[in-house]
Assembly symmetry: C2
Homo-oligomer: 385 residues x 2
């Protein structure tokens, strides 16, 4: 096992009816800004339930946080908070709303130009407004970690930051609040959570059986419940397990003490930036191709993955690896997320353009051993066609 | 899945050489009391390493915290802290030292008679001195939870308390610090961690596959590494995994959202109180007998346990349950912890005496369904003979 640190102070309040708990979770004298995305939180009653729980507190709203939350939008929330002297933030939504709220929380207090927060990856954050979350979309794990990804439209930039100051104080996870999600968002969430686990698991062995088995447990659970989450949108048990698995997939625990890859995410970000695909769509395209191209470096873990997650026990090593990758691809397809560039109308001419972007962004040494150069990324992208 | 709350703010610093990190983890101006047990921390160099890391800070020592930490001893530490105006505690040891330090931390600040802390199970704790831990014995999980068990010799009482104010600020887990532990303590730690998992896992299904697989992963890991931890005391990988598995076994995570039993612990406490057996010895005696007697109520989970932890897939239901219980018993014996009353010189006359104590302590409705009455406890105890 590698040396590690693990710290995660977010309080989780999980279950049906738990939004009412906001009455106690939010300080009684707080002046609250509720941040959310589009109108779905208004239409499906979640916002009303939240505001009822907040009772007599001063509550203002900030709507319109986008799917890739933008600096430009978020700075308007910062303005509102400063102007109205608000002191507690409540994110109601999925990963984008929560990521955006983290940036707002850090920017309100920030002494210099808030864009520095992103340019320095969060290193210069000294404090942040306290905030909580009401999760409505299981996917990113942002509700229980200290990371955030923010875009700046004017610069066509998408940057991430992290800081111990932007852990949510609490996150309310009520699975019933996901019943009305569109199928595509649920499917994307399943794929996103699955690939989060794979980035932290499918590397090379370091003698960390607890972390391995936790990761495998999450993968097996997502395999079981992914299709059910689509087929039975109001099945409490299925949605509860999807929610908890997605939170566990990226709260720091399964990645503590093991190597991490994240090349699929880095390549995927470039695809989203260039072609506007959903984040999860890019992951579903890149991961199977990457596993195939990296089968030598990842051999031991690929065989373990084949045996423990997919119960593939016969055939040569390469046959078992082939089968495990095929099952992974088929799983993504089974929840309706396509896994080839061609499915999204992207052709071979995209490859050199994406390579140029990876190079421009310094992504020339990716992966758990930092040995994935542009030539290898090119082969991965060609295998995505 | 049941509704749940999960909160655990303890920072874990894990790995070889991590004691040096105390230099940054402890506030620079802290006046520190280092609490420990017997002379082993002095003899094996851990205490010297700790004090070297603390550098120029004011550091005092408090030695002599016992295996079942006593109110009487701990109140001497409270005196010393008040007299010397110390403001940060550092527990160096295993579960007893950490449990004791939690009590001291809460008692120093406590307005009334500190014994009330235990009489009210921690409910009246309003604050506590900050403290950290340097773990030397993987077993109880106290390094990453907010619970503590304290004895008061004058009253022959052993009471537990819990409070969010007594989470360790940090815990340093350096597996090399366990190399010199006596075999018996290592074996006890393996059994203790295993039974902690079982108390939260082996109940009845509530549709919580993540928690189930996490628990099974810990059990499988303990089964693999338990005998190795004894055979190769200075194998870093083995000791690291034992340490992390034992911490994970009781930090609240695997028990979140599922029923919990704890009858084995409650009965075990009475055996320790009456006959002085090690805590883990009592668990190793009671658990196999309890699983056997509770096979109807626990049938589904026993079959799942047989299949997933022990790979027992053939035979009738009862045959598979028999085999799983036999494997459990054999595992405890394989690390040298005996599993029958007779092995410790305890005869049938103990049964009515223990039942009387359970009754005197109100333990008349134990287990995950609170349906384990004294008649059932008697059958369990008879099955321990």
């Amino acid at each position: 096992m590698l040396n590690f640190e693990y710290y995660n102070p977010t309080q989780i309040v999980f279950g049906k009816g738990s939004i009412a708990r906001l009455a106690k979770l939010v300080p009684a004298d707080a002046r609250v800004l509720v941040l959310y995305g589009g109108g779905s939180a208004e239409r499906n009653g979640t916002l009303a339930e939240v505001e009822a729980a907040l009772g007599q507190r001063t509550v203002q709203r900030f709507a319109g946080i986008e799917a890739n939350p933008s600096y430009e939008t978020l700075m308007q929330a910062v303005e509102q908070i400063r102007r109205e002297k608000l002191d507690f933030l409540l994110a109601v939504g999925g990963g984008s709303v929560i990521d955006g709220t983290k940036f707002v929380a850090a920017a309100v207090d920030y002494a210099g130009d808030p864009w520095e927060i992103l340019e320095t990856y969060g290193a210069k954050i000294k404090s942040a407004l306290p905030f909580g979350c009401v999760l409505t979309l299981p996917a990113t794990g942002s509700e229980m970690n200290s990371f955030s990804v923010i875009s700046r439209k004017s610069l066509q930039a998408k940057l991430s930051f992290g800081s111990k100051h932007v852990f949510p104080r609490f996150s309310v996870l009520d699975p019933t609040r996901t019943y009305t999600l569109p199928e595509r968002q649920v499917a994307n969430g399943v794929v996103d959570a699955f690939v989060h686990v794979m980035e932290q698991y499918l590397t090379y062995p370091v003698g960390a059986p607890v972390q391995d088995r936790y990761a495998e447990g999450l993968l097996q659970t997502l395999v079981e419940i992914g299709p059910l989450a689509l087929a039975k949108p109001d099945d409490y048990e299925v949605r509860a397990n999807l929610m908890w698995a997605a939170t566990q997939a990226l709260n720091g625990l399964i990645g503590a003490g093991v190597p991490q890859d994240w090349a699929t995410h880095m390549i995927g970000h470039e695809i989203t930036a260039m072609f506007g695909l959903d984040h999860a769509q890019t992951l579903a395209i890149v991961l199977p191709a990457l596993l195939d191209q990296r089968r030598a470096a990842k051999r031991d873990k690929l065989l373990q993955y084949a045996a423990r997650v997919w119960q593939i026990d016969s055939g040569s090593d390469d046959e078992r690896i082939d089968a495990a990758i095929a099952r992974t691809r088929a799983f993504f397809e089974s929840v309706g997320v396509k896994t080839r560039f061609g499915d999204y109308g992207i052709g071979a001419d995209a490859v050199p353009r994406l390579i140029a972007q990876l190079e421009a962004h310094g992504m020339t040494a990716l992966g758990e051993r930092r040995d994935m150069d542009l030539a290898l990324s090119r082969r991965v992208l060609e295998a995505c066609l």
